[in-house]
């Protein structure tokens, strides 16, 4: 997507004024990577991983609480520690400062600061017109966001829980995804629709939905899922700057993850997957919370002598088939670990995409671990069994590598 890179390039010149001390270095760093990318937009090479300089970073912990390893590989400044929801807020706040057209709308985002505190402090700072509390009608405030976007604003629409956005499905599918196309490109819809989804801790079936499986088919939208404070902030900023409608999936259980992120400004690529742990034996594709279950399983696997390559796919639509493909060509075995239901989830689409494109490189059929096709039960034990757990992942890898 050539235009996206160009826009990020343009953004660096604007960001110069925000952080004058450190931006020079990061500017040149980013520029270098962009020059590589612009020459051929379709080949996403390792140069891109240099955005923010994270190419060598490995997360060896299930839940990223150890900030030291992260600090070492980022740019020379030590950075600051944040929780994931604060990282989202930082990204949002920076974009709102940078561009007066960015606004937030959703239920309880204003004075209350958002149910997960992602918008805390923004209403006093930017005013309650820019951080808008809406009545309870998801289809309508999503529609409002779409109308505002068509007439020049860049709204960030928050669904209190992703499941509530099912009410907004009509607006998202029929209008958000379509109007740029059906208007012949005359009206663009640069909205970001975000919210927490996924299985939490006994939130009940209605509040434990995985909307990415329902939305993935809608043409015209992009979907990304964040999993660490670092990529949360970067993806939030990228999503806001994108002229396409982007749905940013957060996870209810990841909001309190702690990590040290760079002080200088950085924006991530929306269509790029993240190499979490390079390896040789098997490619494990995952996203969002399952990343941590996979990393936990990876520890066990390493002890048992396996060398898994873990990729956080991050971009759910479109898939980063370049990174994924390179990995498949290396390891020849694929395990997909997702939280979606078995039927029609992201894993199902990813399986089809990999089979279609990299059939010749596979030594074994793709294994996909997903949740069962049941509404998420409330009882804690049952809920735990519905989500893929590390022992299952270990067992699947062992079987795959026989």
């Amino acid at each position: 997507m050539a235009t996206i890179f160009q826009r990020i390039g343009a953004a660096t010149s604007l960001s110069y004024s925000i952080d004058t001390k450190t931006s020079r270095r990061s500017l040149s760093e980013r520029k270098a990577s962009f020059v590589v990318v612009r020459s051929d937009a379709t080949k996403i090479n390792t140069g891109l991983n240099r955005i923010g300089g994270r190419v060598d970073h490995l997360i060896t912990n299930a839940v990223a609480t150890k900030a030291d390893t992260l600090a070492a590989s980022t740019a020379s400044k030590p950075g600051h520690e944040v929780l994931l929801f604060e990282a989202l807020k930082e990204g949002l706040e920076e974009e709102m400062e940078r561009d007066a057209r960015v606004c937030v709308m959703g239920e309880d985002v204003g004075h209350y600061g958002g149910s997960y505190k992602v918008t805390k402090g923004l209403a006093p700072k930017f005013g309650d017109l820019r951080v808008l509390d809406t009545p309870i009608a998801e289809n309508s405030f999503t529609g409002m966001g779409i109308g505002a976007a068509m007439t020049g604003l860049r709204p960030v629409i928050e669904g209190m829980n992703m499941g509530f956005l099912l009410l907004a499905f009509n607006q998202i599918s029929n209008n958000c995804g379509m109007l740029h196309y059906t208007s012949g490109g005359q009206f663009k819809i640069p909205v970001v629709i975000r919210g927490p989804g996924g299985v939490g801790r006994q939130l009940g079936a209605e509040h434990s939905q995985r909307l990415e499986s329902y939305f993935q088919s809608i043409p015209g939208i992009q979907m990304v899922a964040c999993s660490t404070p670092y990529n949360a902030k970067g993806l939030m900023k990228a999503a806001i700057r994108s002229d396409n409608p982007v749905i940013l999936f957060e996870h209810v259980l990841l909001y309190n993850l702690k990590e040290t992120i760079p002080d200088e400004e950085y924006v991530l690529n929306l269509e790029e997957a993240e190499m979490v742990r390079p390896g040789q034996h098997v490619t494990i594709l995952t996203y969002s919370r399952m990343r941590y279950h996979v990393m936990q399983a990876a520890k066990t696997l390493v002890n048992k002598g396996y060398d898994p390559e873990v990729i956080d796919i991050r971009s759910l639509k479109p898939f980063d088939l370049h990174t994924i493909g390179n990995s498949v060509k290396k390891t020849h075995r694929v395990l997909i670990v997702e939280e979606c239901m078995r039927t029609g989830g992201i894993g199902a689409s990813l399986t089809a995409a990999i089979n279609e494109n990299f059939q010749d490189y596979l030594d074994a059929p793709i294994v996909c671990l997903s949740s069962q096709d049941v509404p998420t039960p409330y009882a804690g034990t049952l809920e735990e069994w519905t989500v893929v757990q590390p022992p299952q992942i270990v067992a699947a890898v062992e079987q795959l590598c026989q």
């Binding site: 209350y112 805390k120 529609g143 409002m144 109308g147």
Partner: protein, 490 residues
């Protein structure tokens, strides 16, 4: 209208009074940093007590807009406080009144339900009578000959456009069409009262607004034929016009989804402090949708400059209004949401012009939504896929095409002013007919959009999977050229 119209200065003084009042009544509220965020039970993280108990014992009709006194936020709106409350009570509340979140409420000891209907329906604003003669006491603006003739000729063009395009669908030259028959006055007169930079969010029966703003007959025809010159690049059905340069948002087939869009656009105008408003059109059927209700509610709460224009034309395909809602039409719903509203004669061009003109002024000056219900009649079929004689009598249709016909009524008026005559009429009609026919001929012959347009604009730049799919389509078409239409360029 009155309730939402306290001026900002009055608001400010009220603020100060309230602050002083609270300082005197510290015993009454447990938290001096009081967020009168009354309607919501969720409290701001910084304030501690359960607000339900602390708040409404003393606060009358205060709502969130008073927070600037405490939190330093922008106060940008007015309140809906009645005049009683400007005298702040210093004695315990009267037994007859409840200080409730949202305003004072008087008690009654009578067990009476409000009726589901009123004896008399809301009156309908009208300037011209059935014979096109203005009532002597009609409240109306003076409009110039130039404007009147322009309005009339546009209505005639719209009528002829509809007739000829409809026929061309019957002849198989275009695939689909929807007429505006009977609603020409709504289309043209409302557009005439707006500025060109007011955003328009149409349903699908308002091409006249585009016509007024300068969309040419050729541009209309291009869209109907889906050729490569049409702005939608051949991606939408006929009559789904859209034009950025005319501030007319592309029509989407989904009913009433444009209403919340309009509120969002009005919100963006309010954010950017523009001196323009937004108008959105919808039919009686559209008012049943969830989008309509939530959008009205939002617009009222957010105080944004949007005109909700309901074309109550009696029919939603085959559903008559008494099967659509049981309220007194749509105008009463405005009151339910706190939106100033009016019912007008939708076949009276002058009434429409006046109402929209005034609504626009109101919307911008007072930053308020306005609801206009225009009573009219859908004299044509729903679309070319419909035969309305199957569910309504031909007599009824004929009656509305008769004296109530908006074009006929307006013509009588301008002729009585000496601004028009039969000769001008036949000349004009002849000329327009020719132009429309020619536009059709030209549009028909133009090439269709290329295959590349099937894949562009899905995103700002096509991603890899779409590029792959495009390559595949091209290969397939090239290989089996005879199985694919020949007028679509690769």
């Amino acid at each position: 209208m009155a309730s939402s119209c306290l001026s900002k200065s009055k608001n400010f003084i009220y603020n100060l009074k309230f602050k002083l009042y609270l300082l005197n009544r510290t015993s009454a509220v447990t938290n001096p940093l009081f967020h009168p965020h009354l309607r919501h039970t969720i409290s701001s993280p910084s304030s501690s007590p359960v607000r339900k108990h602390a708040s409404y014992s003393r606060v009358n009709g205060f709502d969130r807009w008073f927070e600037p006194a405490f939190v330093g936020r922008r106060s940008h709106s007015t309140t809906s406080v009645s005049s009683d409350v400007s005298q702040l009570p210093v004695e315990p509340p009267s037994q007859q009144v409840l200080d409730f979140p949202g305003g004072k409420v008087k008690f009654t000891q009578k067990l009476i339900f409000t009726s589901n209907s009123t004896e008399e329906r809301v009156h309908c604003y009208r300037v011209l009578d059935d014979n096109g003669q203005p009532f002597t006491d009609a409240e109306s603006l003076e409009i110039s000959k130039e404007l009147a003739v322009k309005m009339y000729t546009n209505m005639v063009t719209l009528e002829l456009m509809d007739t000829i395009f409809y026929e061309s669908q019957r002849q198989g030259r275009i695939s689909f069409y929807a007429t505006t028959t009977g609603e020409e006055a709504i289309n043209i007169a409302s557009a005439a009262a707006l500025n060109d930079n007011d955003f328009v969010f149409p349903q699908y029966r308002e091409p006249g607004v585009l016509l007024w703003r300068g969309f040419s007959l050729q541009e209309f025809a291009n869209q109907l034929f889906g050729n490569k010159y049409e702005y939608g690049k051949g991606r939408q059905m006929p009559v789904h016009y859209g034009s950025r340069k005319h501030n007319y948002i592309t029509v989407a087939s989904t009913v009433a989804t444009q209403i919340p869009h309009a509120v969002g656009a009005a919100y963006s105008l309010k954010m950017e402090k523009q001196d323009s408003c937004v108008i959105t059109y919808f039919g009686d059927g559209g008012t049943s949708t969830a989008d309509f209700h939530a959008a009205m509610n939002f617009a009222a709460v957010m105080e944004v400059p949007v005109i909700f224009f309901c074309r109550n034309n009696g029919w939603a395909i085959s559903t008559p209004v008494h099967e659509q809602f049981r309220s007194d039409g749509v105008v009463v719903k405005g009151k339910a949401y706190g939106v100033p509203s009016i019912r007008i004669d939708g076949n009276d061009a002058l009434a429409i012009y006046n109402a929209v003109h005034e609504a626009r002024k109101m919307a911008i000056k007072e930053q308020t939504p306005v609801l206009i219900e225009a009573l009219t009649y859908r004299a044509g079929h729903h679309t070319t896929s419909d035969d309305s004689t199957r569910y309504r009598s031909i007599d009824e249709i004929e009656k509305w095409r008769g004296d109530q016909n908006p074009i006929k009524r307006f013509r009588k008026w301008i002729e009585s002013r000496g601004w028009w005559n039969a000769v001008a009429e036949s000349e004009y009609r002849g000329s327009v007919r020719k132009q429309v026919a020619q536009a059709i001929q030209v549009a028909e012959r133009i090439e269709k959009p290329p295959v590349a347009d099937m894949f562009s604009d899905v995103y700002d730049a096509p991603p890899r999977n779409l590029n792959e799919q495009e390559v595949f389509v091209r290969k397939t078409v090239k290989k089996h050229r005879q199985d694919y239409p020949s007028d679509v360029p690769l």
